[in-house]
Assembly symmetry: C2
Homo-oligomer: 218 residues x 2
DNA sequence: TTCGTCATGTAATGGGTTACATGATTAC
DNA sequence: GTAATCATGTAACCCATTACATGACGAA
C-alpha cells in the first residue's frame, strides 16, 4: 500500500477535497484539543494513509474559527491536580460549536464520491463509529465499485495494448493489481459484517423492541 | 493499496518531484510517441500507482521541448502502407534528443530519496530495466528502510498514546499496517532476487568472462 | 451529419508542503 | 543555562487537477 501511497490520485476525484475539515471536526468532536496535538492524533488515527503538516492544519483551524464551526476554549484546569499530568495542554484549545457539530453530521452523512474516492475514503472511514449504519454501507460499496471499476479498466487497457512489457514493469503492475484486489477483499469482509449487523438490528426491531434497540445500537 | 492511493503523501518527500519528466523521458526512450498516446501508456505502465492528466502532461512536454531534451518529429510514414493501421499517430510525435538521453541516464542513476519516497518510487521502479543493477538495489533498499522507519514510528506513536480507539479506526490502522508490511515483504523478495542475480554476475565476471557477460547481461 | 474518440492545448484553481520565524516549557 | 520538545503561525512555492476551448477523423 505504501507504494500505493505514491499514487497521486486517480485524475477523477480531487474536487473540493475538504478532508482536513472533516478530520479536524471529527477529532474535536471526540475531545477538545490544540493544534499541535490535533496533528499528532490526526496522523495516528489516519495511520499510514495520510499525513498533514502544520502548514495546512493551522490555516484550516483559522478558517473553521472564522466560519464559527469551532471556538477557542481554555478548559480551566481544575487546579486540584497540580501534578505534571495536567492533560498536556498549553495554548489554544479548540472545541466544536453547535454549528460545527451540525457540519460534522452533514459531512458524515454524505455518501458520495468524496467519501469513497482515494483522498476521502480513509478519513471518512476513520470516523465510521459516528456514521449512520446505512451510510457506512453505501460508502463501503461505493468504494468497492470504484476499485472494481479501476481494476476493470486497467485490465481492459492491458488487453488492448498487446505489448511486451519488461519484467519490472510487469512486477509493478502485478503488485498494484494485487494491492487493489486485496483492498477489495477487505471491503468485502467489512461489507459482510455490516450487513450481518444490520440484519440482526432489523430483526430485533421487527421483533417489537423498537425503542430499546434503536436507542443503544448507536 | 488503492486505499493507499488515497494517501496524500508522507509530508516528507515532495521536494522537486520531477516524476513526470522521468516518466516521459523513459517512455520516449522506448519509442517516439505523441502526447495523447504518451498519457495512455503512462497510465498503463504505472498501473494503479499514478495517473496524469493532459493538463500536466502537455506543459511538461512543452518544457522538455524548450530545454531541448526532446524534439518534435514526424516519422514520415513509408507510404507503402496506405491502410488504416498506420501506427495510429496523427499529430506531434516527440523523440528524445542526445541531451534527453543523457538526462534520462542521470535521472535513472540517482539513488536518493526522490527515488524511494512515495511519489517517486513507482516511476523509478517502472524503468528499472534501464537502470544499473547496483542502483536498483540501492533504491529497493532505500525504499524498504523508508517503509520500516515508517512502521516503527507508527508503532511507537501507537504505544505512546495509550488510548482506546474505536474498532473502525483500529481496522483502518491494521489495514494500513498490513499493506505496508506487505510491501516490505515484496521488497524483500525483489532484493533477494537482485542479490542473487548480482552474485551470479559477479561470479561469472570473476571467472574471466568479463566481456561476454557484461555485454549481454543488461 | 452527427457522435464518439483522437488530439492538443490553456487558464484558473486548489490543496498541500517546505522553509522559516518565534516563543514557551520541560529536562538535564 | 541550554538543548529538546512543545506550540503556533506565515509566505512562497509546487505540482497537478479541472474545466474549458478547439479541431480532425472515422463510423453510424
Amino acid at each position: 500500500m505504501a507504494l500505493s501511497r505514491a499514487v497521486g490520485v486517480r485524475m477523477s476525484g480531487r474536487k473540493g477535497a475538504r478532508e482536513l475539515e472533516l478530520a479536524v471536526l471529527g477529532l474535536l468532536h471526540e475531545s477538545p484539543m490544540h493544534g499541535y496535538e490535533l496533528r499528532k492524533r490526526l496522523n495516528i488515527v489516519l495511520g499510514m494513509f495520510r499525513a498533514f503538516s502544520y502548514g495546512s492544519l493551522y490555516p484550516c483551524l483559522k478558517q473553521l474559527l472564522a466560519t464559527g464551526l469551532i471556538i477557542e476554549d481554555r478548559p480551566e484546569e481544575p487546579a486540584n491536580a497540580p501534578l505534571a499530568l495536567q492533560s498536556r495542554r498549553s495554548k489554544i484549545v479548540y472545541k466544536l460549536t453547535a454549528e460545527g457539530k451540525e457540519r460534522l453530521q452533514e459531512l458524515l452523512t454524505e455518501a458520495g464520491p468524496a467519501s469513497w474516492e482515494d483522498e476521502g475514503f480513509g478519513v471518512h472511514f476513520a470516523f465510521f463509529a459516528h456514521t449512520r449504519a446505512d451510510v457506512r454501507l453505501r460508502i463501503l460499496e461505493g468504494r468497492r465499485s470504484r476499485l472494481e471499476e479501476r481494476l476493470e479498466s486497467f485490465r481492459a487497457a492491458l488487453a488492448r495494448t498487446r505489448e511486451r512489457v519488461d519484467s519490472y514493469t510487469l512486477e509493478l503492475q502485478n503488485h498494484g493489481l494485487e494491492s487493489v484486489e486485496r483492498e477489495v477483499r477487505w471491503l468485502n469482509e467489512l461489507i459482510g459484517r455490516e450487513r450481518a449487523e444490520q440484519a440482526t438490528t432489523d430483526r430485533a426491531t421487527q421483533a417489537g423492541e423498537i425503542n430499546r434497540t434503536s436507542k443503544d445500537d448507536r
